[in-house]
């Protein structure tokens, strides 16, 4: 027993010493080596010596979100001519304390800029961004950069709601039961904005359509995604779309002889008889921009969000073998409208009810002729309202 106490005490002492030494060292490092102000070039950072870190919730084998984001990393690497050892990926990091460790390891490995790609990483990243003002942190899908007051912390996302609106057109034209189903991850703004846009797209070509929404409570759980899809089909839905990472909704839809609209990746190879079309984000545009800006000493916006018009949100090829006649024409027309600014996704008259982050009720009533500006000024979606016709099953 005495030995154990001695051991614990000495271990505690060692930890205290390490912590005590660690803090001043990192402070002096940031004060001495690099200028702290935003926009000034970091000490002789070039394409040859920059190191870039990534934190991902799964790995590219998910064939979904992380796969798609990693395609962006590869695109950035090709465009900028970076070598493999300049990019450090941390895959399969959960949205808990593991994230903190992963980012610390990236910092110790000498990363100059770190990208974290999952919603739940934001709090951990904020914590470390405050400790390391000399390193640039970029968080996808987050919403706290503008309020954080940190010059080295940025949020980025894309107006995926525009892509979902167009994909919704394919669903609206295809449905026979006029009942769509949506496999949704969590009741967050990003998800609600996505399915509302999808529903509005479907409704623009099919005024009678309604949509059932069921949550999986996970970004990636193939079994639950398949079960939720089956439950939606059992309710009578005949076109399924998803805000979840796997192909299980596509294959379950195919098994039941109904159709599906995908996200993040072309899902036609997984379910050739069911998958109509998918929408995805080309993350490479932002990654290339942010890394180039850091090297050139230019400012990275606190919130960055671009969409269809800039080629950041893309549609995968339409499955013409099963899509309804005229789908491509209707999508092209809406695409042109969004590009020209004549078509707004969240256009009035539109009403909805939702719940704020703090749990208080929220209502919106957009009159005819006006519209809700999504993803501005914050890059993260902020539409939290459930509109008539959307039926959330809880």
């Amino acid at each position: 027993m005495k030995k154990v106490i001695v051991f614990v005490l000495s271990a505690a002492l060692a930890c205290t010493m390490l912590l005590g030494c660690g803090t001043p060292a990192s402070q002096s490092g940031s004060g001495g080596d690099r200028p702290g102000a935003e926009g000034t070039p970091a000490a002789n950072l070039t394409l040859d010596n920059i190191t870039i870190g990534f934190v991902h919730i799964t790995d590219p084998s998910d064939m979904g979100y992380t796969y798609n984001h990693d395609l962006g990393t590869q695109e950035m690497q090709r465009t900028l001519g970076l070598s493999d050892d300049q990019i450090i990926n941390k895959f399969n990091i959960n949205e808990g304390g593991e994230c903190l460790t992963a980012i610390r390891e990236l910092i110790e490995a000498g990363c100059n800029i770190i990208f974290a790609t999952s919603f739940g990483f934001e709090d951990y990243m904020l914590e470390l961004a405050a400790e390391h003002p000399d390193i640039v942190f970029c968080h996808a899908t987050g919403y706290q950069a503008a309020d954080s007051g940190l010059a080295n912390f940025h949020n980025y996302f894309a107006s995926i709601y525009e892509g979902r609106y167009l994909a919704g057109i394919a669903a609206g034209l295809k449905t026979e039961s006029n009942q769509l189903g949506y496999v949704a991850a969590f009741p967050f703004a990003e998800v609600i904005s996505g399915y509302t846009a999808f529903y509005l797209g479907a409704k623009s070509v099919n005024p009678d359509v309604t949509m059932d929404i069921m949550y999986t409570n996970s970004w990636h759980d193939p079994t639950v995604e398949a079960q939720v899809t089956q439950a939606l089909i059992d309710r009578g839905c005949d076109v399924i779309s998803q805000h979840s990472d796997s192909t299980a909704p596509a294959t379950t839809a195919e098994d039941n002889g109904v159709w599906q609209v995908g996200y993040n990746n072309d899902m036609i190879p997984a379910a050739p008889d069911a998958s109509l079309i998918s929408t995805r984000i080309d993350w490479g545009v932002y990654l290339t921009f942010a890394v180039s800006a850091l090297i050139a000493g230019e400012e990275i916006p606190v919130d960055w969000c671009e969409g269809l018009s800039e080629g950041v949100v893309l549609l995968t090829p339409l499955n013409t073998a099963i899509a309804a006649d005229g789908t491509q024409g209707a999508i092209d027309a809406a695409f042109a409208g969004i590009k020209a600014g004549t078509l707004q996704v969240f256009a009035g008259p539109l009403t909805g009810e939702g719940v704020n982050y703090d749990g208080s009720p929220a209502v919106i009533d957009i009159p005819e002729g006006e519209f809700f500006q999504e993803s501005y000024p914050g890059s993260a979606p902020s539409w939290i309202y459930i509109i008539p016709g959307c039926n959330v099953i809880e």
Binding site: M63, M214, D234, T247
Partner: protein, 331 residues
């Protein structure tokens, strides 16, 4: 359209089947005195190897210019997944029975190994196939719900009993055969004796090692077919990273829920499956999803409490389970 109750029962059976297979494998294993916590690992190995079996059969048929036949594709999946699970269990048996290493530690290692093995191989094969590791239409059709002439068309009874994929009936058959084997044959009696008191069984001239090896390896193979259900039915023959995650542990919990009885396993697997999908069919306003998701675990805890309060020897874990047997150890 079918009514709510029918669709709920059907979804419950489909959700419960992989758990039933995993639990049946573990029941056989634990009846022999081995507590193999590697169920998840063996299910993962069965999941990827079953899918690979079908995929490679299809590739071979395409290369030979022959027609892919769904029956042989499904058979390839079944054999390969059984072999993969059995191989995992063989590693476990060698370590625990021959080398007498700690059963808990070995089982946990097998879980970690199997998970990594499957995800690595699935990702690798997916890249080789140019994106997705996915099976073709003939194989998908082989795992689709059955349409038995006449029987499947009976109103209500047809959907409830005769419209599942063949794996459901396979799992039921395994459960019945295992129950007969354990409780109606001499070999079954010997196996139970080995699990309850290996020293007494040894004294009676039963080879403890042989019984433990056989039960654990066959049990592992059954777990492997449960994993194959996840990759061939749940995700319809497309490899999805981590598709078994968590289900191996649920199967271990189900063994306790079933009180080590294969036939009771059928019932509790359906109940377990039902508790997992009930929120998608029956909504109680105001009840958060998280509460629904706790239901299978709450049920397991309740069963544990009830069985330990009753102190019934008949429904308890075999007394020798978890302990390695070493003849010279006898006191």
């Amino acid at each position: 359209m079918l009514d709510l109750g029918t669709t709920l029962v059907m979804a419950a059976v489909l959700a419960g089947t992989p758990l039933l297979l995993g639990a049946l494998g573990e029941i056989l294993t634990e009846r022999s005195g081995n507590l193999n916590l590697g169920v998840e690992g063996m299910m993962f190995m069965g999941a990827i190897m079953g899918l690979m079996g079908s995929f490679m059969y299809e590739q071979a048929m395409t290369a030979a210019g022959a027609q892919t036949i769904g029956f042989f594709s499904a058979l390839a999946a079944l054999v390969m997944s059984f072999a993969a699970g059995a191989f995992g269990a063989l590693i476990y048996s060698f370590l625990t029975i021959t080398l007498r290493s700690n059963q808990n530690v070995t089982g946990l290692v097998l879980t970690i190994f199997g998970t990594g093995f499957a995800n690595f191989l699935g990702e690798f094969a997916g890249q080789q196939a140019g994106g997705y590791l996915a099976v073709g239409a003939a194989t998908k059709a082989a795992f689709a719900p059955l349409a038995i002439p006449f029987l499947s068309d009976i109103p209500l009874l047809g959907p409830l009993f005769f419209q599942y994929n063949w794996m459901v009936y396979f799992a039921l058959a395994v459960a019945v055969v295992m129950a007969v084997f354990l409780f109606r044959t001499r070999f079954g009696l010997n196996l139970r004796a080995v699990g309850e008191d290996p020293a007494a069984a040894d004294a009676a001239g039963i080879s403890v090692s042989r019984y433990r090896y056989m039960a654990t390896v066959i049990g592992g193979g059954i777990c492997g077919t449960g994993g194959m259900y996840m990759s061939m039915v749940t995700t319809s023959g497309v490899w999805v990273h981590g598709c078994v995650t968590g289900y191996g542990w649920l199967a271990v919990a189900l063994v306790i829920f079933a009180t080590w009885s294969p036939l009771r396993g059928i019932l509790v697997a359906a109940v377990f499956g039902g508790l997992m999908v009930v929120r998608m069919y029956v909504s109680i306003p105001g009840l958060p999803i998280q509460i629904y998701e706790m239901l299978p675990y709450v049920a397991t805890i309740l069963v544990l409490i009830i069985t330990s309060v009753r102190q019934s020897k008949k429904h308890a874990m075999p007394a020798g389970t978890g302990l390695n047997y070493f003849r010279e150890d006898r006191e």
